[in-house]
């Protein structure tokens, strides 16, 4: 089950929300959250998947041992290592099971594999790591830690929120009108991003890169759409996760950022899955001011680890190394040079760097990547634009324009600034803007539901 399934958005979510409103105590809400999470992950999959959650018990024990034996550094380091091995093992076996295809005992059917194991194992390790680093005290109450570990809010698209940040909210939280309002709105907007926008870019990507005709514009638009598809899929799920949290009384940090010209390539990398990038950056010491060479190596290692976290494939690793190298270079000297450029050129640099580096994620071989690179400049292609790409763009031009306003920060600021200015004129104007927002949000919800229902009907 994922957040954008009809049975979740129109079944599980309303029921869980209503049931959790029956009692104001945090303990009751935690219990409902745990039960709902177990149902969420066992849905359509063997219930044995939930046994993976037993590793949360191991994390809790390791955290407690480390917390109680802070003076014995060797012991603490040993238990941190054991915890890291356990979580990496779980992650590889259940998250990247395809690498065990040759081993019968470790190769499972796709139906058995849980969703969100990457975020789950990362949270488990981050808790023990924080206790080891004395950033957080060890948790005595297992159910508080268990709520943090298994919460379905955090499983599909993060954020990778640390236990010390969430612990006060697990013990005490309130569901206010503001949270409900923001949460519902966020869920609907995220739902729309996943169903409407990600779908559009998938169709353009298919026309541009999977068509039988390779064209220059198709290669450009296809790759941009490939990145946009995953951007909207992830940010949509991330919005929904944040919305689910708000409706449940939690306040999570955002897991994506606007792509800004001043952020350069590092900012672009950080804009996607921000909390995970920050965690890996901290783990590999990317933030520390140290020797330039060591810093550069840290960035490369961080990029490599991040790429493996996404997918343990050779093209992902190469992309991770390249992204880490460019980020390292920016950190050392390149940002000083590039920061003097005008914003338009910075955006151009970001676009080209992101396309050339992250474009590698699409191709399984260097042959395909090279063919695509040549096609970008018109080598070995017959036409500049194919009919299928042209129609895929024209048929969705309105949604593409909406997507542009969401992604391109200056346009977004212009748009939101206009509405803000309009609403500040008078109380009546404010009311009209708010009503328009409500109507628009409701329309997005209805259109998304109808689109999904029509897909099922087809």
């Amino acid at each position: 089950m994922v957040y954008s399934d009809l049975i979740f958005i129109l079944g599980m979510f309303p029921i869980v929300t209503i049931v959790s409103l029956f009692d104001r105590s945090a303990e009751y809400k935690n219990l409902i959250l745990i039960l709902a999470s177990l149902l969420f992950f066992s849905w359509g999959r063997p219930f044995a998947v939930c046994l993976i959650f037993l590793s949360a018990f191991a994390d809790w024990i390791f955290g407690m041992i480390i917390g109680k034996n802070r003076d014995k550094k060797a012991l603490c380091a040993a238990f941190l290592t054991i915890d890291a091995i356990m979580n990496i093992g779980l992650f590889l076996v259940f998250g990247h099971n395809y690498i065990f295809a040759k081993f019968d005992k470790l190769s499972f059917e796709a139906a058995v594999l849980p969703v969100g194991i990457g975020f789950y194992t990362l949270r488990g390790f981050s808790y023990v790591y924080d206790v080891y680093k004395r950033n957080s005290v060890y948790e005595k109450n297992f159910f508080c830690l268990f709520t943090y570990m298994v919460s379905f809010h955090l499983m599909l698209a993060g954020p990778m929120v640390r236990y010390k940040e969430l612990e006060p909210q697990i013990r005490h939280r309130e569901i206010t009108g503001t949270k409900l309002n923001d949460g519902l709105t966020r869920i609907v907007w995220g739902f729309g991003k996943v169903v409407l926008l990600a779908g559009v870019f998938e169709r353009i990507k298919l026309a541009g890169l999977n068509g039988r005709e390779i064209t220059t514009v198709g290669c450009w638009l296809g790759m941009l759409s490939f990145m946009a598809q995953y951007y909207f899929l992830f940010t949509g799920l991330s919005d929904m996760a944040k919305g689910l949290g708000l409706v449940g009384g939690f306040e999570y940090p955002d897991n994506y950022e606007n792509i800004e010209a001043d952020g350069l390539f590092i900012g672009t990398v950080r804009s996607f899955n921000t909390t995970v990038v920050e965690f890996f950056g901290e783990l590999f010491g990317c933030k520390k001011d140290k020797n330039a060479v060591l810093n550069f190596i840290s960035y490369i290692l961080c990029g490599c680890a991040l790429s493996i976290w996404y997918e343990a494939k050779i093209n992902f690793i190469i992309v991770g190394l390249c992204a880490g190298a460019l980020a390292g270079l920016e950190k050392i000297f390149l940002s000083g040079v590039l920061s003097k450029l005008p914003s338009a050129l910075k955006y151009l640099y970001i676009l080209l760097a992101a396309m050339l580096i992250f474009g590698g994620l699409y191709f399984d071989s260097f042959y395909g990547y090279k063919k695509w690179l040549l096609a970008l400049v018109g080598v070995n292609v017959k036409y500049s634009l194919s009919v299928s790409v042209k129609y895929a763009v024209l048929k969705n031009i309105t949604l593409i324009a909406v997507a542009f306003f969401i992604v391109f920060s200056p346009a977004k600021r212009l748009f939101t600034g206009f509405w803000k200015k309009l609403s500040e004129r008078s109380a009546a104007a404010y009311g009209r803007v708010m009503i328009a927002k409500t109507v628009f949000t409701a329309l997005i919800f209805m259109i998304s539901v109808i689109t999904l229902a029509a897909e099922h009907a087809a």
């Binding site: 066992s42 890169l209 009919v387 024209l394 229902a453 087809a458």
Partner: protein, 262 residues
Amino acid sequence: MNDNAKQFNIIHGEKDKEYEIPEECALAEKASKELSQDNLEGHYRFINILTLAVIMLFTCIFFIAVSGSDIVEDNNASLSFKTFMSGDYTQAIEDTYNNSLPFPEAMKAIEERISLIYGIGNKVTDPIREIDDDTDVNHNSFDEPNGGDENDTDENVITTTQKSDNGEVTTTKKAEEKKKTTTTTAIDRPDESETSSTTTTGSTTTNNDKPYFTVTTTVPIDQPGPTTTTTTTETTTTTTTTTTSEPPEVTSSSSEETGEVE
């Protein structure tokens, strides 16, 4: 502390605290405006929550109530410890839910009409979700060709397929005769990816793209029998090849090549 502030605290039973009540000053106006703004925001926040909650709950109930099928009977998955643990029961619920959504045809029709606002060129009978004939989800033009695999297609290679009398089909790739790869501007060819023409001799030339016009070369058959007439029409980008007679004993073959004129 002035008298007004004292009076306020006395009324509220907080004699010891020194709340300053700004009176008839800019601060008072500012506080009043902020309070008014808070009330206004709260008002519209309430409307937003109410609207979204009602729509969500209505849709939720509508989707469950109108479908109204029996989960157990439809999927033969009754609730038991075994089916629940194996995931079969929950999967069956989801399948039933998705398969019994209310008014599926109406949903499709509404979705098609909504798609009209997505862009230019959408038609009610042409749902946007329909993948173009030219697009194959499983096909990747950038995949590396396997060595010696004849099934690999190079979209620039002209392929000639010949069918002999005994029904054998021979496909020949003319790698050296690749189409020109000059970049052109956007083209609009309504019928993409067609297999073009056959002649009396069973010779078929397959190309990935419909050309602007077809050049047909007919090899004269050195024996009495069929008379071949070739007509090339440039404006309609079609080629008509007519054979007036078709004796079964014809053994020679003619090939037809398609090419693109820039």
